[in-house]
């Protein structure tokens, strides 16, 4: 292993050139398809050593060991379990070949399985598995480590933790991004960088998937927020398939021409991935040696991340809401659910708070009667894949905090670490190990300070200790300690002073907002006023309920008034979503657009418009209004509603309407008809004919059938709907009793479709002589014809076919 500092020193003087592809070079030198590359490389030692050497000779300052797939799970596919041995051998070969020309990076690739919560491999099992590989590489003399081509951020974390728990070696982590700029699992480059650099990656970046052109933009994005050197290893162009083979089209000199733009973008280590050769690397090395590396930019960025996205903000630039809802205190329903081990309320709360505008989500599962650690882990595993907001781990137990930090596939915020000695001793090292940010609670042993001065002193003490572990002020948010104003009149003022102290001393600040109004009436007013005052004092975070619209108005108005929302765009966007005039649904739009000129028959036009627009909510009012005005039920139906729904059918046929519009209209018609039906007199509505409908036995799909039934009823058919998975016997029995004019059958699967001719044959045998209709996803016009049934492709056609079968005119 080479001292980390040595590599950092190298990086301050030059852009280090990495190696090029190993896999494609092995193939060129005769490795057959489908074999284990690592085992083949050992069996063909001289070939592998010549590849290593060719890159060292070409100018690579660091070469990667040929151990991309040399992990336990991949090797098992080839019946091998001597993980340490294989890794050690390949690292030794690399060291021999590289000599003094290049350092050797022990290469760790993906294990071929995803790690929980994205896959079936338990996180700690993954760490254990990678440790075997790390140990082998270390024994073989690897100078540093590289974890590459990762698309699962959790797997990258597991591998990085595996390295860090064994050695202090310099470790590079590169993820692979699709052309759309995210990993296949949906992680943005920023999210990955924030997570990995906090967790202790010494350099980070991207490799594979795209050519240099596409990767350049990623390097630019990463450089702006990186605290570590940036690494890029693009393919030799975007791969394409030619004659069934994957081809990388970019030649060595074109590849090397990207040296300047990458250097300007701030790359610190660059090599090539699939399709690149020693010549690509030689030309790149010649070219890139002309440029000096750019150091990481100094900045005041506060950075957190979820598995999907990063939350990166200039310190003090905005007020962020930490959604407080996921906390069982005082919530009976949530308590009950957590006790049962269910999480549907938690999921709903997370999604709701995200929609309401929270930027972070507080997770607290502290309540009597449950295993807090197990519950928090379960909540994280449930929310991490679906929630794009970073999580805040809210627990007083170091055990719980550690379990949560270990498995959270992002950069979390700890709520909180106080100045109490035992808390600091346990929690600060945990925060450092997992790279978490933390809320600093300015409380000391047996002391809850009431003055902002004393709070500042305690905060400074904690910070001094944290700084020694690598934390900066960007990583810490000081809790300004909100006390209840009803019991202590100066408490709120002291909190504001603490916020100002934090801001003046370079810290972010946070308050648990609602404490301030405890015991008072009209708490929302007090809370939102206090939030505005705190924002004016420089508050950066508030733990609050984002569903309280008044608070969110205060947040946005404060940003506007303190010059933090310069073009008012955030305020206007919030306003556009929450103004009364905009808050309506389609109903509001409909009401506005149907302001009729005087003298027209408003209700009849409204009924027609209502059906065509599919506004179910208003149809009852319109029909009732028409009745009040003396409209005759049969006339309303025949002269307004039926023509309207016929018109909808035409709009659907001409593709001016698509399926949801057709159904919304049909449902509106149905709702209107429900009012008229009892008024149509003894004769009721004149039936167009009787249809017996069923989805055949074995088939559980019935949404299509339900649509057709809805349509047919609207057009005046008397439909008996037997539902789904209906046996032939039941259909025959119903046919005898109901005496339909038509029997309509639906099937969605090829296996169940074959029930249709059986039913038709049964009906014939029982002397039931009525026409059959057939439809459903797998049924074709030809097939329906072949079994003697009438086909229709959708609800509109079904109405027409049914109508013609009984001699109607629709």
């Amino acid at each position: 292993m080479t001292d980390k500092k040595h590599i950092s020193d190298m990086l301050s003087g030059k852009i280090i050139v990495l190696d090029g592809a190993t896999g494609t070079e092995l193939q060129k030198r005769g490795m057959p398809a489908g074999v284990c590359p690592e085992i083949w490389a050992i069996e063909n030692r001289e070939i592998q050593k010549s590849i290593y050497k060719s890159y060292a000779d070409a100018g690579s300052g660091i070469i990667y060991t040929c151990t991309f797939g040399a992990n336990q799970l991949k090797l098992q596919q080839y019946g091998r379990d001597d993980v340490e041995n294989i890794n050690r051998t390949l690292a030794e070969m690399a060291k021999e070949a590289a000599g003094s020309k290049a350092l050797v990076a022990g290469d760790i690739g993906p294990c071929g399985h995803f790690i929980s919560p994205f896959g079936d491999i338990d996180f700690d099992d993954a760490v254990k598995m990678f440790k075997r590989q790390v140990q082998g590489l270390l024994d073989g003399g690897a100078d540093l480590f590289v974890i590459e081509t990762q698309m699962d951020i959790q797997e990258a974390r597991a591998a990085l933790i595996a390295v860090k728990e064994i050695t202090d070696a310099f470790t590079i982590v590169t993820m692979t991004y699709e052309p759309d700029g995210r990993t296949l699992n949906g992680t943005t480059p920023e999210a990955a960088l924030v997570t990995l650099q906090s967790l202790g990656a010494d350099a980070a970046g991207c490799n594979c998937s795209t050519g240099p052109e596409e990767m350049l933009n990623l390097v630019k994005r990463l450089k702006g927020i990186s605290r570590v050197p940036i690494v890029a290893k693009p393919n030799a162009g975007m791969p394409r398939i030619e004659n069934g083979k994957t081809v990388f089209p970019m030649g060595p000199s074109d590849f090397a021409s990207f040296a300047l733009p990458f250097a300007e973008a701030g790359v610190n280590m660059m090599g090539g991935c699939c399709g690149t050769t020693p010549l690509h690397i030689k030309l790149l090395a010649d070219e890139i040696s002309k440029y000096k590396p750019l150091p990481a930019a100094e900045n005041n960025l506060v950075m957190l991340s979820s598995p999907a996205e990063a939350l990166v903000t200039q310190k003090g630039s905005s007020l962020q809401i930490i959604g407080e809802r996921i906390n069982p205190t005082g919530k009976k329903k949530l308590q009950g659910e957590l006790l049962e081990g269910k999480l549907s309320i938690v999921r709903a709360m997370a999604s709701r708070q995200q929609e309401s505008g929270a930027q972070l989500l507080d997770i607290n599962a502290g309540m009597p009667g449950i295993d807090e650690k197990e519950t928090v882990v379960k909540i994280i595993n449930t929310l991490a894949p679906v929630c794009r907001l970073p999580l805040v781990i809210d627990s007083s137990s170091p055990d719980v905090v550690e379990a949560a930090l270990r498995i959270y596939p992002g950069r979390a915020l700890i709520n909180s670490i106080s100045g109490e000695k035992s808390k600091m001793e346990k929690l600060l090292p945990l925060a450092a190990k997992y790279g978490a940010m933390f809320i600093l609670l300015p409380v000391a042993d047996n002391e809850l300070p009431s003055s902002h001065k004393r709070r500042g002193e305690i905060a400074e003490t904690v910070y001094e200790k944290a700084e020694k572990m690598g934390f900066t002020k960007n990583d810490i948010i000081v809790d300004a300690l909100v006390m209840t104003v009803s019991s202590s009149p100066d408490a709120a003022l002291e909190t504001l002073k603490t916020i100002r102290w934090a801001s003046e001393n370079g810290f972010s600040s946070v308050i648990g907002l609602s404490n301030v109004s405890f015991g008072l009436p009209h708490r929302v007013i007090v809370n939102s006023s206090f939030l505005s005052m705190a924002a004016a004092s420089g508050l950066t975070h508030a733990i609050a309920n984002p569903d309280e619209t008044a608070l969110m108005w205060a947040k946005h108005a404060s940003a506007l008034l303190t010059g933090k929302d310069k073009d008012a765009s955030a305020f206007l966007e919030f306003a556009s979503l929450h103004s009364e005039t905009q808050a309506g649904t389609r109903t509001a739009e409909m009401r506005e657009s149907s302001s009729q000129p005087a003298g027209t028959d408003i209700s009849s036009d409204s009924i027609r418009e209502g059906i065509i627009s599919g506004i179910r909510e208003d149809i009852v009012i319109h029909v009732n209004r028409a009745l009040e005005k003396g409209g005759e039920p049969p006339e309303i139906l025949e002269k307004i509603m039926i023509p309207a729904i016929l018109h909808v059918g035409e709009l659907y046929d001409s593709r001016k309407f698509f399926l949801p519009q057709l159904i919304a209209s049909a449902e509106t018609m149905k709702k209107g008809f429900e009012i008229l039906e009892p008024l149509l007199g003894e004769k009721g509505r004149k039936s167009c004919g009787k249809v017996l409908f069923a989805t055949v036995e074995g088939d559980i799909h019935d949404i299509g059938k339900n649509i057709v039934v809805l349509m047919m009823r609207n057009y005046g058919f008397d439909v008996m709907d037997l539902g789904k998975d209906v046996a032939a016997d039941k259909i025959i029995k119903a046919a005898k009793e109901f005496k339909p004019d038509i029997i309509a059958l639906s099937a969605l699967m090829t296996t169940t479709m074959v029930k249709m001719p059986e039913i038709i044959a049964r009906a014939e045998a029982e002397n039931i002589r009525v026409p059959f209709m057939a439809g459903g996803a797998v049924v074709t016009r030809e097939w329906a014809g072949s079994i003697g049934a009438h086909y229709s492709k959708d609800g509109v056609e079904a109405v027409r076919v049914a109508s013609s079968l009984i001699g109607g005119k629709i």
Binding site: P37, F118, D120, G698, I703, M749
Partner: protein, 214 residues
């Protein structure tokens, strides 16, 4: 060895789901608020879906012109050798004729989204139809995700997947084969069950097979 992929996260275009519902960019006239409402329903479907998948790589051989033998690679977690299955289907035999191996995939959108669809079939059929289409497209996109994942890995072995997939119900591959694939993939671990008529439950669950070529 089986490989599970849980909580697959997808970025899905609204336009894909709109198209599945018959939306035509040139002709469909859709008021903005209705469009917004439908997008909200699609988001709701995305929230309700829990997309989990399982895959198995298999050695293939063709004992005759009308059947395929599939033997899963690697061993079961307890060390035993997985069972070889024989699928009688000339069309699958033809589909896989140029492949060296096969990949069997099972995927499910979970029961929450189907429960939601059933609930809305009673309360709001329009919404149910949108949720149903969204869930269907999400499952389809899930297959695309697995294919790109596997292709990325296979590229390093100079292999790739066929661009098409084959599912029970296509050609002469009967749904009965679904039972064999279902057992091979141990889909019960994903909370999926098989009905007597070889249909997967919850409804938004699909099995497909494709070839690996080198």
């Amino acid at each position: 060895m089986l490989r599970y992929i849980n909580n697959i996260t997808l970025r899905i275009d609204y336009s894909t789901i709109f198209s599945a519902l018959g939306y035509k960019r040139k002709s469909t006239e859709l008021p903005d608020l209705f469009r917004k409402e439908i997008k909200g329903w699609i988001d709701e479907a995305l929230h309700a879906v829990k997309l989990d998948a399982v895959t198995a790589r298999c050695e293939i051989s063709f004992p005759d012109d009308e059947s395929v033998l599939l033997s899963p690679e690697g061993s079961n977690p307890e060390g035993s050798q997985p069972e070889t299955i024989r699928i009688a289907s000339a069309s699958l035999r033809r589909f896989l004729s140029s492949s060296s191996k096969a990949l069997i995939m099972g995927i499910t959108a979970g029961s929450a989204v189907t429960e939601l669809i059933d609930k809305y079939q009673i309360e709001n059929m329009t919404k149910a139809v949108v949720l149903d289409a969204a869930a269907g497209e999400i499952v389809d996109a899930g297959f695309d995700y697995i294919v790109s994942l596997l292709n990325r890995e296979l590229a390093r072995e100079s292999g790739r997947l066929l661009s098409k997939r084959f599912s029970p119900g296509y050609g002469d591959l009967t749904l009965n084969a679904q039972g064999d694939f279902f057992r091979l993939l141990d889909m019960e671990k994903l909370g999926v069950t098989l009905t007597d008529s070889f249909i997967l439950k919850p409804r938004k669950s699909v099995i497909a097979i494709t070839g690996i070529v080198y």
